[in-house]
């Protein structure tokens, strides 16, 4: 009787096993790399109805974040400015630009500019700006160097792991309250070490961010 299986099939199970191992490893690597918010959210840079530049306004002109985002310190959500806030300057500045004409139209008709939301916390999680900003966490810890961005993009993953990284070790981010909107400031500018200064502030202000589920999933 002839062999039903040719000789090479002897090693087939082993080969299949190895192949499966490699495919499995590749898929696992792909998933850990891609199926996370590090990949899905970071770098999201939608195009906005008006090419508004933070680099120009917050960087060069030197506007404080709170000139436009006026209620970050008082309210849970950070407000995007009304067209009126832009118009206070732009009724005089660059009035002949077609981009500015859109602001004018919005002010006159009362129809708001439809800015596209960049950062988003899912509806099942609770986030509050005023708590963070008043506890000495700067915008730069969560949004990156906005004052150097011609177009805003998401600089941090803002995943749950990312929130918790800071909640477990807030001393790496805390700073004096008058430096919250100064995105270029670092502890070095005051001749201090971030860690050492953060520890002091954490103790002085009794900072204790929630790590239990109900803190954020309320």
């Amino acid at each position: 009787m002839a062999n039903i299986f040719p000789r090479w099939t002897n090693t087939l199970p082993l080969k299949l096993l190895i192949a499966l191992g490699f495919v499995g490893a590749a898929v696992a690597a792909g998933v850990t790399y891609y199926v996370t918010q590090e990949y899905t959210n970071k770098g999201y840079m939608p195009s906005q109805p008006i090419p508004f530049s933070h680099e120009l306004h917050a960087g060069q002109v030197g506007l404080d974040c709170r000139y436009c985002h006026s209620f970050v310190e008082q309210s849970g959500h950070a407000n995007v400015p009304s067209s009126n806030t832009c118009w206070n300057c732009h009724q005089h500045v660059k009035t002949n630009s077609p981009q500015i004409a859109k602001i004018k139209e919005s002010v006159e008709t009362g129809k708001p500019l439809q800015w596209v939301k960049v950062h988003k916390v899912p509806d099942y999680a609770y986030f509050n700006h005023s708590v963070h900003v008043n506890s000495g966490v700067s915008c730069v810890s969560c949004h990156g160097k906005i004052n150097e961005m011609p177009v805003v993009f998401q600089d941090q993953s803002q995943s749950m792991g990312w929130c918790l990284d800071c909640h477990r070790a807030p001393e790496n981010h805390l700073r004096p309250l008058d430096k919250i909107t100064n995105l270029n400031w670092t502890a070095k500018d005051a001749g201090r070490e971030q860690k050492e200064m953060g520890e002091k502030l954490k103790a002085a202000w009794k900072i204790n961010p929630p790590e239990n589920c109900a803190g954020c999933h309320r």
Binding site: A26, Y44, V61, G62, N79, W87, N88, C89
Partner: protein, 235 residues
């Protein structure tokens, strides 16, 4: 086996080629891998809704009605004085800067002018006003270089001299912040009432600072306190 590895490599290159790397800039809306309850029927602030047809998530108050959310009116709207100034709704001096038909001087009773209040005023002034009026109030902020014309200089007689026929009393400055005036737009929607009064107090402080003699020991002490010697690097 060789072909298998080649195929695997090819697949890998293909995936990285189409999916790119972490942190790549993209204008596409982020993919939601499990979007279980990411989008709920509730509306968060600044979100739009299709319910009302115009995209707004809340209705505007009906014309002629008086919002009661922030302070309870002492008088009925029909008795007058309930104009809506930004988000303040009273008709009293604190909310309007006016006493009857005149601008008030001095501060309303709700306001206690102390050091903390002046610090608040300085902070808010530097955020909202300094871009145009300058940190010292001289009317030459950054934007004057970009075409904002005729910015008021707070160190001129109409702001300093109570005997000047055009004198701007505290109440007048308050009203300018709330509603704007002439070439200046309004900041009533950006600055809460108490902070507007703090800014008024800071404008007055800036004016006073020009004439405070450094020879006066009290002034010198205050100056030294506000401007400590530069921090030398810690050992």
């Amino acid at each position: 086996m060789r072909y298998f590895f080649l195929a695997l490599l090819l697949a890998g290159v293909l995936v990285v080629g189409t999916a790119g790397f972490r942190g790549d800039k993209s204008t596409r809306t982020p993919i939601e891998i499990f979007n279980d309850m990411d989008h709920q029927a509730k509306l968060k602030p600044q979100a739009s809704s299709r319910f009302l047809g115009n995209g707004a998530s809340a209705r505007k108050p009906v014309a002629g009605t008086v919002p009661m959310g922030l302070s309870i009116p002492v008088k009925a709207a029909a008795d007058g004085g309930y104009a809506n100034y930004g988000f303040s709704h009273g008709g009293d001096y604190y909310n309007t800067g006016r006493l009857g038909d005149f601008y008030g001087e001095g501060y309303p009773e709700q306001v206690v002018v102390d050091e903390a209040f002046l610090r608040l005023g300085k902070e808010r002034y530097d955020i909202n006003c300094a871009v145009c009026h300058g940190r010292s109030g001289n009317g030459v902020g950054v934007t004057s270089k970009f075409g904002v014309p005729n910015i008021a200089n707070f160190h001129t007689p109409p702001f300093l001299d109570a005997k000047d026929p055009a004198y701007r009393a505290n109440g007048s400055i308050f009203e300018t912040i709330s509603k704007g005036k002439g070439l200046m737009g309004s900041y009533g929607a950006n600055i809460p009432v108490m902070e507007r009064w703090a800014i008024v107090a800071w404008v007055r402080t800036l004016q006073m600072s020009r004439s405070a003699p450094l020879a006066d020991p009290a002034v010198k002490a205050a100056w030294d306190k506000l401007n400590p010697a530069p921090v030398t690097a810690a050992k």
